[in-house]
Symmetry: C2
Subunit: 442 residues, 2 copies
Amino acid sequence: MDFFFYPDSVAVFGSFKKGAIAYEILRNIVEGGFEGKIIPVNPKGGVLKIEGRKFEILRKLDEPVDVAIIAIPAKFVPALIDEIGPLIKGAVVISAGFSEVGNRELERELVEKARKHGVRVIGPNCAGIFGVHGRFFGSFEVRVKSGGLALISQSGAFGGAALAMGNEEGIGFSAFVSYGNAADLTESDFLEYFADEENTKAIALYIEGVKDGRRFLKALRYASVKKPVIILKAGKSASGAKAAASHTGSLAGSYEIYRAAFKQAGAIEVEEMEELFDAAKAFEMYPKAGRRVAVITNSGGPGVLATDKLERLGLEMARLGDETVEELRSFLPPQCSVKNPIDLIADADYERYKKTIEVICRDENVDSLLVICVPPIFLPGEEIARAVIDAKCDKPLIVNFMAGELVRDGVKLLEGSGIKNFPTPERAAKALKWLSSRGAYC
Amino acid sequence: MDFFFYPDSVAVFGSFKKGAIAYEILRNIVEGGFEGKIIPVNPKGGVLKIEGRKFEILRKLDEPVDVAIIAIPAKFVPALIDEIGPLIKGAVVISAGFSEVGNRELERELVEKARKHGVRVIGPNCAGIFGVHGRFFGSFEVRVKSGGLALISQSGAFGGAALAMGNEEGIGFSAFVSYGNAADLTESDFLEYFADEENTKAIALYIEGVKDGRRFLKALRYASVKKPVIILKAGKSASGAKAAASHTGSLAGSYEIYRAAFKQAGAIEVEEMEELFDAAKAFEMYPKAGRRVAVITNSGGPGVLATDKLERLGLEMARLGDETVEELRSFLPPQCSVKNPIDLIADADYERYKKTIEVICRDENVDSLLVICVPPIFLPGEEIARAVIDAKCDKPLIVNFMAGELVRDGVKLLEGSGIKNFPTPERAAKALKWLSSRGAYC
């Protein structure tokens, strides 16, 4: 499937009036810096200017391309696929109006024409795809930063919102697929592909339902062995399942069966949209982590909240070794607590944080670190951020800097060094829980 | 206690070098626009310029003031209280170094001197207080917007972080108290005060432990009858309780007892820091809400997620009346779903949202509304925001606009009209759950 996510050439079919879907996709591809060939196609022809580049709109596709992105009225799609089939490897069908509104026959026809030419299809009724490392933004959704997360979404709107929110959370993406009605390629195909795709560190999946349960379980197991797969399942409740049926036409099925399947496959199920991001952030940084956590903080309250959450999630507060305690005592002020959670108190500066992180990190009783900072007025958050960045530590380290505007610069500094911030102690604790579900880091 | 939160005059004791605690507090008071008398006091005297205003630093307080804010070394505090006792009504003691580090005798002495003069004390070992509607920012913490939430925090750092994060979440505050060691005034006193304080619509409480359980239960019950009281209890787990003991010196006690007490009193316990904000946001808008929710969305996936969460939380998806369904059918495009969740599909514009909200709001089977919007590329989020603002609806309406940067302007518009946004469908659903725990809105 590399031709979808790392194409050399793409043709876009549809209207190229400003604001039209095909135009917006073309604009995204151009502005995103795609270096391959870009061909807009519309029977009316014409020319088009985007970012100072001039594109001739072809009346007909007349040369081979890797991917065709199609945003024309549904009823014309099968014929187009039949026409361009010999020239393309894959088609991304954005157009809606197929099985999701009852037009099953039209969808069947689409697939038939594609199969006839050996063309693989994503969609129809989808929001498109991103191959971020190929700088290919083949969707009208907001472009994202390059990174390790592949997002597979049955719902286009969910996917679009998740991309935009991922940008705000500092997530980097390897790819995005909105697969809509899954007439040909399904979630299972994408799971298998991203399991072996080298730029993808973690896979996030939003599903309402799957058509082939056995196939899905197999693909999920395959992918989960290789990489963390984070799943948000919608349509869990009775009303939710009914709503899902009218949304993607998918039978959400019994949630209990899904849940068992996720567990059996070793996938990580999350409960909420926000958790999908948090888990993704954690896995973009580390593949896994052990269960014995040391909490380092400069403020008691948040340290207690983190401790509560960690224990509640079934993680362990690491028991520090005697040498560790002794070493901490040797340089920490007497008011500091050297028991876990380690409280460096409010005036903790660069040196105190850095040294403590390094000492704790060397303790073999500690698998991972949760570093909390509520910057006091007399100490800029950036200083502590720098301590976290500079500290030599080869164990998973999750950071919770908090206090809104007061930590903004510190958080930016951290993110610049690939350290993602979790905005509350509890969300940081959950990140460690997900990491630990993949086993110890060593 | 009005003299603490609506003082006419304040004296600040401590060092007025830039960056020093007393200086930062004084600066906050001046910059916050306090209109009463402001008197800095330090035995060394001198003058001070803040915001173009010149302050003479008195060597000794020589006139009556409502509040003294004290940030001098701990050992000098009892004597100072004894000296100025006849001139002040209340003292906020920022200084640390009392019972939290084992100096119980010094704390006892402080209280004794205060009682001798009938002076009430907040602290010691605290971050200070805000009386936001009195424009009195008697703390070094970041200033906040005026609104309905009174935040009472045992932990200063938690309080400070919460204020800064509250600013980002669009929360308005009536007051803030960090009460530290609670040598004199305790959480119970503040609960009782804010229960009757007219600018306070909801109370948020962070506690690790209380000294007098019976008194606390009584105060909590008193406050909860009058207003929503949201509680975040830290020190719930075994390790967390131990950490709390070394932090605020409070015996966290059995969490089960606390939990039962919260429930019995009718308070709203939240599990996480983020939930404290979300509940506060909801209660700043509405005192309560019924349990039958209608979900209006322009994107299926998020609508399903909201539905799942609502049902999981024990709320009901409202069954729309026949007339409502008929009326919706009369103006909605046929692809829209008129069952709850009501799916207006991606091209829903101002009119479609506004009319739907109004029709749904009139249905007597609906207690509250959850309005979701994932703006499509061809429609600015502001347009839908305006529809929500303009729609005539007298029932609780919770909003979830999502997609990061794409909804930023829409969210600003909503906030400008007092409508706070919840960033995910699940967080919006939880907001309705908390509202419903206070009973139906009518």
